[in-house]
């Protein structure tokens, strides 16, 4: 009897604390949404309203059309999709080699690769900038894409190697006896069997490329090829008070990652818990 009431009480406390936390987490997002729906003249109203009184989509229309956030959205989408596909391709091949093939220096190479997970990424920005300059890929989408692939390589290869090692060897051995090449085995057998692993890689790489700021900030000065994070940051620094449009663009840029995240969140949580890679 006593135990039951105390259990109920602790249950109530749990929900209470979770909800308080939820409000703290969600309030800034809600305020951003409300601000994006306010007319410009209400942006600095006092007291600030948490519930919108007058709703308008003007900020969205202006941001997308006049301020070319529609274009930046497409740029971001292009860069994120290319980076994601290429990362899946490159890191799954690497992971397969480390999981199944024999070659000299295998362990050494793997450790070198893991080193890539430990280097602070911003430390590499200066020499990457110089190299990208020499390769003439600054101000081009490809300059963003190759660096995004590389920065994701270590983590995703590590993740996929673990995944491939979980696939029973017998499946491949049968195919090898039948004379299939490793290349064929990889694409026809291993790759299709690894959909959950590929899903995790997809989400991580997409999120990373969609949100990435420091590299795009230095490597993309071409106005028409900006991605959303740099476009939003630069817009705010040039139009200090037009918060409605800043947040309209922000909300629009949030839509794809929220959709991707909700759709794949089970894989995602699994991926973080097994590898500890930051989203």
């Amino acid at each position: 009897m006593k135990k039951q009431t105390s259990q109920k009480l602790s249950r109530a406390t749990t929900y209470f604390l979770l909800t308080v936390g939820l409000i703290i987490v969600a309030l800034p997002f809600w305020y951003m949404l409300v601000t994006s729906l306010k007319p410009q003249s209400y942006i600095f109203e006092m007291p600030p309203k948490i519930w919108p009184t007058e709703i308008t989509l003007n900020n969205y229309l202006t941001a997308l059309r006049k301020d070319s956030f529609g274009l930046y959205f497409m740029n971001s989408l292009f860069v994120a999709i290319c980076s994601t596909l290429a990362t899946i391709f490159v890191s799954s091949m690497l992971a397969y080699a480390f999981a199944r093939l024999d070659f000299p220096g295998k362990e050494f190479l793997f450790y070198i690769l893991l080193l890539g997970m430990m280097i602070p990424p911003v430390m590499l920005i200066i020499p990457q900038f110089i190299i990208a300059k020499q390769l003439a890929i600054l101000d081009k989408f490809i300059g963003l894409i190759v660096v995004y692939i590389t920065m994701n390589l270590s983590g995703q290869t590590f993740l996929l190697r673990g995944f491939f090692e979980g696939i029973p060897k017998e499946i491949e051995e049968a195919a090898l006896i039948d004379g299939a090449s490793r290349w064929k085995i990889f694409w026809r057998i291993i790759f299709p069997l690894s959909k959950p692993g590929i899903a995790v890689v997809t989400i991580f790489t997409f999120l990373y490329s969609w949100d990435e700021f420091p590299w795009a900030h230095v490597a993309m000065k071409e106005t028409t090829k900006r991605t959303l994070p740099i476009a939003i940051a630069l817009f705010q620094s040039q139009h200090l008070t037009e918060w409605g449009q800043v947040f309209a663009a922000s909300i629009v840029s949030l839509i794809p990652i929220v959709v991707v995240f909700i759709a794949f969140q089970r894989y995602f949580i699994q991926g973080i818990s097994t590898t500890g890679i930051k989203g």
Partner: protein, 303 residues
Amino acid sequence: MELLLTKFVKILKKSSTALIFLLPGLLLFTVFIIVPMIYSFRISFYDWKIVNPEQSEWIGVENYLRALSDPIFRRAALNTVIYSLVTVPGQMILGLIVAVLLNQNIRGRTFYRIMYYLPVITSWVIVSLLFEYMFSGQAGLVNYFLRDVFHVTSENILWLADPILTFVPIHLLGIWKGIGWTAVIFVAGLQAIPQHLYEAAEVDGAGSKEKFFLITLPLLRPTTVYLLVVLTIGSLNAYISNLLITNGGNPMDLTHFILTLMYEATFTKLDFGYGSAISYLLTMCVFVVSVFQIRMMTKPIEN
């Protein structure tokens, strides 16, 4: 002899298959990670001329000495260390609380999980601007709550104009954004704890407090070490929130982080050698801190 030769050809053949699989990845990795690491080490010893690299002048450890004796760098280092000391424990304590709450059999778990994770997946640019707006001096939401709702202050606080107060939104943002990720890692750690330990403790009459401090916390040690290292490295690398909220060290270069200073030195003042030296100093700190933390946190397990 013939046998040896065929063996050699066999190995080569085997490796050649591997080579095809390895080539694209290793090529990218070499060009954009290995070479940059070595390259930037070299640059840090030069007065590097970005337009005419051939005219760069070897100056030894001058860039490093300059950084270490520069009051702006020292202030930036101090700011970064304080940021670590505040945000790492902040994320870990709150993340653990959220993890313990979420690890129970509650309704709407997926919903809570998604909501707590929302700040993690949102780009730093967006959340930094959002906090800047909420903390703005004149009509900010935070000032409104402090002044008109809770009556803590009678005047607006100018958060963003003060070299100390400006870290309030930066620190809060750092904690707020990281709770979700920390909680997910803690949940994974919690689920790895064998359930029968709790059952045995219950038989022995242990309450939930004893269970938490005698079973949960000690068994979470590997997770805690891992989080401590990763979060500390992350906090030393903090950069975007500071860059956007302080506009690059305002006021009077008092509010830099190490990386915003590195960014300014390199891409605004085009002093690539100095910037590289700063980033190598940071990397060395990161390395020392992680080795130290791993040592410190793994030792007591032996006792």
